[in-house]
């Protein structure tokens, strides 16, 4: 049952606003700020901020240096050189709006922080010794404050009822953001705020606003391109096409479906947003070549199939399989007496290949470079794109026939899934692109809970290897565990058991999923032990990482299959 609570705080604030209109403007604005902040969601956020502030001087990854360098680039250099500068190896590779964001941050940096060499442009190996704790504090604070944007985007939605409050708070406190933003260092919270406001605009049926917000978030971080097909189809279908009075007489009547006015409005909004984002560059006279330079920065295709640490997707399993086959082949080579095998396959050639490859690269711990497989066939980018597009198409097609908010969120989630599972050079951080939309969906039906739990638990655990220092070990586990208990229990209580759901739920699958989730803990501990003891003098360092990505990919895959099943074969859910 949903217990609808209106927002009492807001009303009282409004009434005081009316009755005391004689009071000064200051008082009014105070009330407005108060009503902005006086929500349960804000209190939850503040509590999490305290925890985040404790971690200010904790471990930070190279992404910290990346963002510091961008601050200095935007502060020290003219616009023309932003995308050309190579003083530091961490060059600017986000779209322009994010660069402007860094520009603003760098220009509001306080004096003492500037004196702390925060904004000095320098090579990567020099910088870490030069800047001090003030720089760290300032950058961490900007992350925390910018997360207020995420709160703002969720605020109005969280006030509607208790269930949506649960959804909003689970997003706001998500361990993914906690790990990525506040320990690892990135600005995901704020960027997802933009993206979420576009989702909420869809819910409120403000399609233009949604299109605008989505294009803005695209211009902040191009990772949202993964979800663009879904937006494209949805906005086209919901806003620009009208099948209500459709009657096929001639092909001309097809044209009548299109609502030209809306189409033009939508196109204008999207195009002008992109145009505005790039306008400063056009203004200073960037030519085609310069834009090509920007694009080459944004889409570095020279990278390999998998990231340094394999994100738990299809290619992680593929790579693991290859590793095992390699070991098997090497073993067979050692055991001379298996003549029968030798007759069937000629191993010697393979072994030469393996040795050649091992000299060149090392799939698990190598730098960002091309990955070659020893035994299994190589994967060209084309295959990954084909697979991604195919599954995205499958996710998007139903949206064309049955267009509503739930369906939209479902297809958004599946789009995220397919690009994550089959994409080229996927970062483990992209899991947030799936978890966040899915959260909006999960309260609809109890049966969605199992895939959601699988996804969020395995997805969050797959982020753990990002934080490898011993002091973060317990923090990441505890925070994630608390979040999981809080939200898995609450959501299972709140989410509705629709349509005799209990009969149609496959109970065995549920139990199996729970066992899987509980077993994540031993996996974390085993890999922790592997890290502590460094068996074979660190020769098996990749083993714990492989354990993580393999085990987590099972969860992500199962979750994808579960959601796909419900999405494609369960009609009452999507009415």
């Amino acid at each position: 049952m949903l217990i609808c609570i209106s927002s009492p705080k807001k009303h009282t604030a409004d009434s005081t606003f009316n009755s005391e209109h004689m009071k000064s403007l200051l008082c009014n604005s105070f009330h407005r700020v108060r009503s902005l902040v006086d929500t349960p969601l804000f209190k939850l956020w503040v509590f999490s901020v305290f925890i985040k502030l404790f971690l200010v001087y904790g471990y930070r990854s190279t992404d910290f240096e990346v963002h510091r360098n961008w601050l200095s680039i935007t502060y020290q250099l003219p616009l023309k050189q932003w995308y050309y500068d190579t003083t530091n190896i961490w060059t600017l590779d986000y779209p322009p709006l994010f660069a402007y964001f860094e520009y603003i941050l760098s220009h509001i940096t306080p004096k003492p922080v500037i004196n702390d060499h925060c904004l000095d442009l320098m090579a990567e190996n020099v910088s870490s010794e030069i800047y001090g704790s003030l720089t760290v504090f300032w950058q961490r604070i900007t992350v925390i404050l910018s997360e207020f944007g995420l709160y703002l985007s969720l605020r109005s939605y969280s006030l509607t009822d208790k269930t949506s409050l649960l959804v909003c708070s689970s997003i706001l406190l998500n361990p993914g953001f906690f790990i990525l933003d506040h320990i690892h260092f990135q600005y995901n919270g704020f960027l997802f705020g933009l993206f979420i406001s576009s989702i909420i605009a869809v819910k409120e049926e403000k399609y233009l606003k949604s299109a605008f917000m989505f294009s803005v978030s695209l211009c902040f971080k191009h990772i949202y391109l993964y979800l663009a097909p879904c937006y494209f189809v949805f906005l086209l279908r919901a806003y620009c096409l009208n099948f209500e009075h459709f009657e096929f007489k001639t092909y001309l009547s097809l044209i009548k479906i299109i609502q030209w006015k809306n189409l033009i409005k939508l196109a204008a909004v999207v195009l002008s947003t992109f145009f505005a984002a790039f306008l400063p560059f056009i203004y200073i006279g960037y030519g085609i070549d310069d834009f090509k330079q920007i694009l080459s920065r944004l889409f570095p295709f020279s990278r390999g199939l998998t990231h340094a640490y394999w994100a738990p997707n299809l290619w992680a399993i593929y790579s693991t399989l290859d590793k095992f086959l390699t070991i098997l082949v090497l073993y067979l080579n050692k055991v001379k007496y298996i003549g029968a095998v030798r007759q069937i396959v000629d191993i010697s050639q393979l072994i030469e290949q393996i040795k050649l490859n091992e000299n060149e690269n090392n799939g698990s711990k190598g730098l960002v470079s091309d990955v070659t497989f020893n035994i299994l066939p190589q994967i060209p980018p084309k295959i990954t794109f084909a697979l991604t597009l195919f599954y995205q198409l499958l996710a998007v097609l139903p949206l064309f026939f049955n267009c509503n908010f739930n369906r939209f969120i479902g297809s958004l989630t599946l789009c995220g899934f397919s690009s994550y599972l089959f994409g080229w050079h996927v970062h483990e951080k992209a899991i947030m692109l799936i978890i966040i939309p899915f959260t909006f969906l999960v309260v609809l039906d109890r049966r969605l809970l199992t895939p959601y739990m699988l996804l969020s638990s395995s997805g969050i655990v797959s982020l753990f290897p990002l934080l490898f220092t011993s002091q973060d070990f317990m923090i990441k586990i505890l925070y994630s565990l608390i979040w999981m208990i809080l939200y898995f229990v609450s959501i299972s209580e709140v989410s509705e058991m629709n349509y005799f759901g209990q009969d149609r739920r496959v109970w065995f699958f549920d139990r199996l999923a729970m066992i899987y989730i509980v077993c994540l803990l031993p996996i974390i501990i085993i890999s922790g032990i592997l890290d502590v003891f460094k068996f074979g003098n660190g020769h098996y360092e990749f083993l714990s990482l492989m354990l993580y990505s393999c085990y987590c990919s099972v969860g992500v895959f199962t979750s994808w299959i579960g959601l796909s099943w419900l999405y494609n074969f369960d009609e009452p859910l999507w009415l």
Partner: protein, 585 residues
């Protein structure tokens, strides 16, 4: 849906019942401030079912905060050659691991010789085993004899932080949660049963059902209030010590006394004494309480059994130290040495700056130049006993086996008062000793919050002293004063961030700084609020001055001394308040 099939009358009845329930809840919520705190507002976001997970969640949250605090620096970081308390504890791990038992109390007193009782040594040994064999300390030389001195490997730091949390999880956290659950049952529930019998059954049960939700909520927040106590967190997990273990054992003693299991109470108290001699601060009250409950109530058998169990525990704990020597004389010598190490009377009256009587009055009377060390010892002993005597007397007079709940409440006040007297007047007091009086003070939060959830309607706010709102606020004030008194130490160790965060977070969670939101009491309340505000602002002023201004060259310790003076004032007020409370129990 299933519900819709049921008769409409029943549905209407149920709705009326829920409305009534909400009305009752509202009645309480309006009366008591602690329902308006942020922690309640946060808990209300979640469905009720979550509250059945409270023990696990509270434990995990408490652990998370502990590990987060642990990221900061520790005592004596980067400060050779002696380093600080962290090195002391690590050294004891190294020492107990590598030396035979008979040498523990003899080894190199110049570098943090072992000067805590035997249970600390056992504790160190077990942690050393864990570190050496489970966490690969052997390969990294964490505990190699002598050569590991001043080891500052970040992994070692993480391990040591982990051991503090491990100790907490084994002793302090379960004890605290036990107290939260146990106490609420023993005081309010028992009364409720009596009340429901007296009243009409139906209204009573409805009311108790309405209250049960509030009670669950208050369990949750009471647990957090105890476990997130900022001064303990910052000393144990910031500064680095194992006070949680000693305090947890004392807490177990209190729990057992509440359960009327006096023998196990004795065993735990002896254990806490053998972990850190500092828990002697509680000993007079516990002794008098047990005496009154047994011998003076003519329960001779119980008296004998607790006497035997006390002595037996001591013997069991210290026997190995005596036994693992070649001859009896050597064994006795080892025992003697261990006691000499534990009670170092040749040290000064106080160390550094402490907010106690001696340090503050030292501004006007130079005790150490006027009197010899022995004279001072005698003076401090007399003063301490004098200050502690009211608490003991109250226990002697008011405790009786017939008045369970009252005498248990009195026990907490008396423990607080007695240990505070030791803090204020005893010889050789550390600033960290404030943790001891703060333990019973924190437990009073639970008592106070449960008192307000009585079944026979909210307490009237007429009497100033018994008002739960005022008590609540004063308890927060004492917590803050204790934290404030730790500031000089924390500043010295570079734990600024952790200090402020913990303080602000705690106050934010339980509503520390919202002064006029407290209801009832009328004018007097207002004056009290003004007094509190002024005290708080002097504290903040002192902190700000300490942070941003150099003290004048003639008085380099000015800010620290001011800090001591302010906290001393607060503690004296706390002592008086406790006396008053004991009087009126």
């Amino acid at each position: 849906m299933v519900n819709s099939k049921k008769p409409i009358v029943e549905v209407a009845e149920r709705e009326a019942a829920t409305k009534k329930k909400q009305h009752i809840q509202k009645n309480y919520k309006n009366k008591y401030y602690f329902f308006e705190t942020n922690i309640y507002k946060i808990l209300e976001c979640f469905p009720k079912k979550l509250l059945s997970w409270d023990i696990l969640l509270v434990t995990l949250i408490a652990l998370l905060i502990r590990f987060c605090v642990g990221i900061g620096a520790y005592s004596g970081y980067n400060d050779p050659p002696k380093f600080g308390d962290f090195e002391a504890q690590r050294h004891w791990l190294e020492l107990t691991l590598n030396l035979p038992m008979k040498d523990w109390y003899f080894y190199d007193p110049s570098h943090w010789g072992l000067d805590y009782p035997i249970l600390t040594a056992y504790h160190s040994l077990s942690l050393a085993y864990i570190g050496e064999y489970l966490f690969g300390g052997k390969n990294r030389g964490w505990f190699a004899l002598d050569s590991s001195r001043g080891n500052e490997d970040p992994n070692l730091k993480s391990f040591m932080r982990f051991t503090v949390c491990l100790t907490d999880i084994v002793i302090y956290i379960p004890a605290a949660l036990w107290f939260v659950k146990k106490h609420s049952i023993s005081t309010s529930e028992k009364q409720n049963i009596l009340n429901t019998k007296a009243k009409k059954l139906e209204t009573g049960s409805l009311q108790s059902r309405a209250l049960s939700h509030l009670k669950q909520l208050s369990h949750f927040s009471n647990g957090l209030i105890i476990l997130l106590q900022p001064s303990l967190l910052i000393i144990d997990h910031g500064h680095f010590q194992y006070n949680g273990c000693m305090l947890g054992l004392v807490l177990l003693t209190v729990n057992n006394i509440i359960d009327n299991k006096l023998v196990s109470a004795c065993i735990f108290f002896v254990a806490s004494l053998c972990f850190k001699q500092m828990s002697l601060y509680f000993a007079p009250v516990i002794f008098v309480y047990l005496l009154k409950q047994t011998l003076l109530s003519w329960r001779i058998i119980e008296f004998v059994s607790i006497g035997v169990s006390t002595v037996a525990t001591f013997i069991v704990l210290y026997f190995p130290l005596y036994f693992f020597n070649q001859t009896n004389e050597l064994g006795l010598q080892t025992l003697k040495q261990s006691f000499l190490r534990v009670f170092p009377f040749n040290r000064g009256l106080f160390e550094g700056k402490v907010a106690n009587f001696w340090c503050v009055s030292n501004l006007f009377i130079k005790h150490r130049t006027i009197f010899s060390n022995e004279q001072l010892q005698l003076q401090s002993l007399v003063l301490t006993l004098l200050a502690a005597s009211p608490a003991c007397l109250m226990v002697l007079i008011k405790v009786s086996p017939k008045r369970y709940s009252k005498s248990k409440e009195l026990l907490l006040y008396a423990l607080g008062s007695c240990s505070l007297s030791f803090y204020l007047f005893a010889f050789q007091v550390h600033e960290k000793s404030i943790l001891l009086p703060m333990l019973p003070m924190t437990l009073l939060f639970v008592v106070n919050n449960n008192k307000s959830l009585k079944l026979d309607g909210p307490i009237s706010q007429a009497s100033l002293l018994n008002s739960p709102n005022l008590t609540y606020q004063l308890l927060i004030f004492f917590e803050n004063a204790a934290l404030f008194s730790l500031w000089p130490l924390m500043k010295q160790e570079g734990l600024h961030l952790q200090f402020f965060l913990l303080g602000i977070m705690y106050n934010w969670l339980i509503g520390g700084f919202s002064f006029f939101a407290y209801k009832g009491l009328g004018k007097i309340n207002k004056y009290i609020q003004y007094v509190l505000i002024s005290v708080y602002s002097t504290m903040f002023l002192n902190l700000a001055l300490d942070l941003y201004m150099q003290p004048p060259a003639i008085l380099p310790d000015l800010w620290v001394v001011l800090n001591c003076a302010i906290s001393f004032g607060c503690f004296v007020f706390m002592w008086l308040w406790l006396l008053l409370k004991m009087w009126y129990v």
